[in-house]
Amino acid sequence: DTAVSQTPKYLVTQMGNDKSIKCEQNLGHDTMYWYKQDSKKFLKIMFSYNNKELIINETVPNRFSPKSPDKAHLNLHINSLELGDSAVYFCASNSGGWNEQFFGPGTRLTVL
């Protein structure tokens, strides 16, 4: 039943490590997004893919690399994790046009 799912929901890791967050949507949407919510709850777009093609890359450090193996999946890989990467990362999707974006449950990343 889950429309947009993310794994894991919680991720605790050490500085310098490499980690991945996975996102899957079963809504048949063409467009998927990654947003970052910082410790002050501010939400900001990071990336967007439309049908496996990158369409938004919002001045994110190149340690962050999104990958979309197919239009139902959008993963986020982060290299050399830093303390400032600690945040909640949300995946979202929509069917294009002016339609609603559906959000996943978020992944809380804590870098120690």
């Binding site: 947003y35 002050k40 709850k41 967007s48 979202a92 959000f103 449950p105």
Partner: protein, 115 residues
């Protein structure tokens, strides 16, 4: 660049009362969408209501309604008959052009509902 401003970091309302959350935005576009999202402690982002800029009529969803003033670039959310379950962080968001559909969020308003 488009920006969204929520000037009330925190608000409080008594159960069954009405509360209004403020949002202003800046854009040079004429066609856009505006949204209010609710984020309860579970952190799930839930769409509350949306407004198409070309529609003059204010959107309404049950106890939730908006006051959309396009010329003033204002988009406030009114919650009537507040319930304990309305306690959450509320985000105003602006939808950029149709090519990317990215959302630009305000900084949020934390709403407390007092029994």
């Amino acid at each position: 660049a488009q920006t969204v401003t929520q000037s009330q970091p925190e608000m409080s309302v008594q159960e069954a009362e009405t509360v209004t959350l403020s949002c202003t935005y800046d854009t040079s576009e004429s066609d856009y969408y505006l949204f209010w999202y609710k984020q309860p402690p579970s952190r799930q982002m839930i769409l509350v209501i949306r407004q198409e800029a070309y529609k003059q009529q204010n959107a309404t969803e049950n106890r939730f309604s908006v006051n959309f003033q396009k010329a003033a670039k204002s988009f406030s959310l009114k919650i009537s008959d507040s319930q304990l379950g309305d306690a959450a962080m509320y985000f105003c968001a602006y939808r950029v052009d149709g090519a990317t559909n990215k959302l630009i969020f305000g900084t949020g308003t934390l709403l407390a509902v007092q029994p």
